[in-house]
């Protein structure tokens, strides 16, 4: 067991854990952050996506030991159901989920995209989300939500 300090959603958190533990289980089981989901443990589906220092990563595939003093953003870091951020709002407006199990990865991948590219084309959105699987077939709504979010973001200047 090791004591590891990581910054999650802007807050320093200290956990006692086996350093080989993938970040996903630390976020979910130690920190109670249920946004990131276990989908495959193989970095194939994207349900566990978080943003690490500005880039999306699959939290099921990286050990917590590598997180010392790194900045991690999870879905919870974007907003809450009473105060959703612009992306979450756009997903609500477009009703862009069915079961919603994959949607954490969709929103986080979209955030990383929009942080870099304020006005992505449909092609760029699909490219950015192409490694994320959705079995309910909500892809079209997700693309519409990301486009709406981009419009909102440009319109309001919000980050």
């Amino acid at each position: 067991m090791s004591r590891i300090t990581l910054t999650v959603n802007g807050r320093a958190r200290v956990v006692d854990a086996d350093p080989s533990t993938p970040l996903l289980y630390i976020l979910r089981d130690n920190l109670g952050l249920n946004g990131p989901k276990f989908g495959c443990g193989l970095s194939q589906c994207g349900a566990c996506t978080v943003i690490l220092d500005g880039r999306t990563v699959r939290s099921c595939g990286i050990p917590v030991s590598a997180m010392q003093n790194r900045n991690i953003t999870t879905l919870e870091g974007l907003g809450s159901s009473t105060q959703p951020n612009y992306l979450q709002k756009a997903f609500i407006e477009e009703q862009a989920a069915q079961c919603g199990y994959c949607v954490n990865g969709m929103i986080m991948a979209a955030k990383a995209l929009l942080d870099k590219n304020e006005n992505p084309t449909d092609y760029e959105i699909k490219e950015a989300l192409n490694r994320n699987l959705c079995r309910c077939g909500t892809h079209l709504r997700i693309v519409r939500a990301v486009k709406r979010a981009a419009r909102e973001k440009v319109g309001t200047g919000r980050i």
């Binding site: 993938p22 089981d29 276990f38 989908g39 079961c99 192409n130 309910c136 892809h139």
Partner: protein
């Protein structure tokens, strides 16, 4: 009034917190009062109004149903039905779903039957509730009930709105203690049929695109899925289950996990092996490291695709299901001017749920509480009670939504896994399957071998139709023994051909058309592997109908092309339900910009050729037509679906946006299953145990989807969970034929198969 209003969002948040909250007080409420019910073991009775709904003093109406939301949004739609019938605003409805201690068994959530069957049950309970409330209001206001009106739960005298009383004042927090009529069980349960319900033309909430109640919390990480349920002191378990036919367990080497931290404990009951640890990661590592020796399995399965279809073709059926048999088929064939025959193959396919199955079990002594995403918590209760050897009333299954479910998945199996482990260690245990177990052990949709023959007269009418679909029965049907029970030696796997009605359905084999001489038969072929095999079968979205429609609607197109008739016009010649099928076909064609002509299209230059195809279906009265527009790359055989246009008629519509969401999902899943999906197997089981070897469609390949909703309120709810996937594969195959003039009769339409057809079939192009 305003003081009493609780916003839907606040309430849902409260509801999701409930799961965890109630655990803080100990999960064993079985001996205490639960919800609106009395003493221990007192299950709700359908003939008691209080079993269905309770008016709270806070202005919230709580509704109890065994139907659950599998991610489709049906909870929102059912809430609309209840709000509508009770004349309260939508925000006042709170649903308790799938909790065996609190809900009546209205049968599992499946088969597009939730709105179709449970909708009227709940609506009538609401109508009976409103009738009682009006009776109470009548006495309170001293005015005849006929002279009262209700607006958002406030009953007032017509013409004198200041004389009023609210539902919550009349009955807030108190039981009705009223008996209502209730006969039959499950989908056939009839509730208070004598109570008049609203006329659909007066609906104000049903039929509107109310936003889904569950989504805001799902977009922020606040929603509690079954995977997110936690109990203080809970341990983590993992199962050690081979990814192939389960043979006899020879030995388990406990020393192989002695160095893994986290207080790892081994759980073994006969052939069931699991590990429990304080952290999830310890359990995962231990499950991976544990050395388990199994005997060499005795495979009896077909070893490959060719063997499989040969087996389906040559094995004697144990049950012939004759769907249609009219006229004199052989005489019609002998008199036919032209005859046609073709064989189609549908593969084993997966549900491919994104979130592996998960359950939390808390077994203490002879009592158990389990949270899981089961489609039918009442049947899971029975399974777990049998497994633990306790009475059913000692087991409480609480529904917690899992990830999307498109047929019988493993939320039941994992509930047993968790129960065995919790009993063994005496603490609550959370078990989630790993990806390879989910891929391997989820029951598959069966492979199908379909042969069709047709005879046509001189006028170009089909006069003889002979359709046969040979497939395997459900070997993992809802209610059958679950994996842990069988591995623990408590239940046997059975002979593999149960023949109790759980089969892969019989519709969509051309029964949509009324041909004069017609036979549609679905023979069920016995499954020969008695040991537990990952190639176990069960219902997968629109069971069997997707494959049968692929065959029958492709074949109709083949005949139409040969007779040089436009595919839409040809279908219009012989529909069974003329008005609705004509309407649906013409609507889809119009929306898609269909131009009347014969398929295939005239030859085009270049390597990427476009084509269009149509198909239609009828699922329990919900009828759908789909037009697919594809692009086929002749150089490599790759098919890209550009657009699918769907006309959809499921009778009465509860929520048009929710319905469109379902249709989009059905179409996308249909495209994925048509172009990409096939379980690879050998004699021991399946080979695809991750997303690289069995993948589903990705963003870059998603077509545009155009939808036209046709509403027939007078028909009531007909179900929309799976109707619109049915015509998709045939529409695509027909479009491929239209583009390049070759017919692919095997799903999936992989580039290799299309290329091979291009190279081997005589081109029909430009005939």
């Amino acid at each position: 009034m305003k003081n009493n209003s609780i916003s839907r969002r606040q309430f849902v948040k409260g509801a999701t917190g409930l799961i965890v909250g109630f655990n803080l007080f100990g999960s064993h409420l079985l001996g205490q009062t639960i919800g609106q019910f009395g003493s221990a073991g007192g299950f709700p009775q359908p003939s008691e109004l209080d079993s269905w709904l309770m008016v709270g003093s806070n202005g919230i109406v709580t509704v109890y149903t065994s139907k659950v939301d599998l991610g489709t949004g049906v909870l929102t739609a059912l809430s609309q039905v209840m709000a509508e019938e009770l004349n309260v605003s939508f925000d006042r409805i709170h649903m308790i779903t799938g909790d065996t201690a609190q809900t009546i068994d209205q049968s599992q959530t499946s088969g597009s039957r939730t709105l179709h069957k449970a909708g009227p049950q709940l609506r009538q309970a609401a109508a009976a509730g409103k009738q009682q409330l009006l009776k109470l209001a009548s006495a309170h206001l001293e005015v005849a009930a006929e002279k009262l009106t209700v607006n958002d739960g406030v009953v007032s005298v017509i013409g004198n709105p200041s004389r009023n009383v609210s539902y919550w004042k009349l009955r807030g927090g108190k039981r009705f203690n009223v008996t209502i009529t209730a006969t039959g069980t499950g989908p056939l349960l009839e509730v208070a049929p004598e109570v008049p319900a609203k006329n659909p033309k007066d609906y104000k909430i049903v039929g509107t695109p109310v936003p889904r109640v569950d989504l805001p919390a799902k977009f922020t990480g606040e929603f509690t899925y079954s995977q997110d349920v936690r109990i203080p002191g809970m341990l983590h378990g993992r199962v050690i289950r081979p990814l192939e036919v389960i043979s006899q367990l020879i030995s388990v080497d406990e020393s192989s996990i002695k160095d893994i931290p986290g207080g790892v404990k081994l759980v073994r009951e006969d052939r069931f092996v699991g590990v429990v640890a304080t952290t999830e990661w310890s359990a995962i590592q231990a499950a991976k490291a544990l050395k388990v020796k199994w005997s060499v399995p005795d495979p009896k399965l077909p070893a490959n695709r060719d063997d499989l279809y040969a087996y389906l073709k040559n094995t004697k059926t144990f049950k012939d299901q004759v769907v249609a048999n009219r006229g004199n088929l052989e005489s019609a064939f002998s008199q036919a001017t032209k005859t046609f025959e073709a064989t189609y193959h549908w593969p084993f396919q997966m549900h491919g749920m994104i979130g592996p199955s998960c359950a939390v079990a808390d077994v203490r002594g002879d009592q158990a509480t389990i949270w899981t995403g089961s489609q039918g918590t009442h049947r899971t209760r029975k399974a777990v009670a049998d497994l633990l050897g306790v009475p059913e009333r000692n087991v409480r299954i609480v529904y917690a939504e899992g990830s999307g479910c498109y047929g019988r998945l493993c939320a039941d199996d994992v509930a047993e896994d968790a129960a065995l482990m919790s009993r063994s260690v005496g603490k609550a245990v959370r078990v989630q399957w790993m990806r390879e177990e989910e891929h391997a052990w989820e029951p598959k949709g069966t492979a199908q071998l379909m042969t069709v023959r047709a005879g046509v007269d001189a006028e170009g009418n089909i006069t003889a139709w002979d359709f046969m679909d040979r497939y395997f029965p459900y070997t993992a049907a809802p209610g059958y023994p679950l994996l842990a029970s069988m591995q623990a030696g408590l239940k046997s796997n059975g002979p593999g051909f149960p023949g109790n009605g759980y089969d892969y359905g019989t519709t969509a084999g051309g029964d949509l058309y009324a041909f004069e001489n017609q036979r549609v038969v679905c023979p069920v072929i016995p499954w020969i592997q008695n040991e537990l095999s990952p190639l176990r079968t069960c219902n997968l979205r629109a069971p069997g109908a997707v494959g049968r429609a692929f065959a029958s609607e492709s074949f109709i197109d083949e005949v139409a092309s040969n007779l040089r008739v436009d595919p839409v016009q040809f279908r219009l010649k012989s529909p069974r339900n003329e008005k609705r099928t004509t309407e649906i076909l013409l609507t889809s064609a119009k929306k898609a910009g269909w131009i009347e002509r014969v398929s295939p299209a005239p030859p085009a230059n270049g390597s990427k050729i476009t084509g269009r195809g149509v198909a239609m279906s009828d699922r329990d009265g919900a009828i759908v037509a789909a037009v697919a527009e594809v692009e086929v790359d002749k150089s490599n055989g790759k098919v890209k679906v550009n657009r699918i246009t769907v006309a959809h008629d499921c009778g009465l519509i509860a929520n048009p946006d929710g319905l469109k969401n379902q249709i989009e999902g059905n179409v996308v899943q249909g495209v994925s299953r048509t172009l990409l999906e096939e379980v690879q197997f050998d004699e021991l089981g399946m080979k695809n145990v991750d997303w690289n070897s069995y993948s589903t469609i990705r963003f870059q390949d998603i077509p545009e989807v155009e939808i036209v909703l046709i509403e027939h309120p007078e028909l009531g709810f007909l179900g929309a969970g799976e109707a619109s996937i049915i015509p998709v594969p045939a529409a695509i195959a027909n479009a491929v034929f239209d583009a390049v003039g070759v017919r692919v009769r095997d799903v999936p339409l992989t580039p290799e198969r299309v290329l091979s057809a291009l190279q081997s079939q005589p081109l029909n192009q430009g005939v």
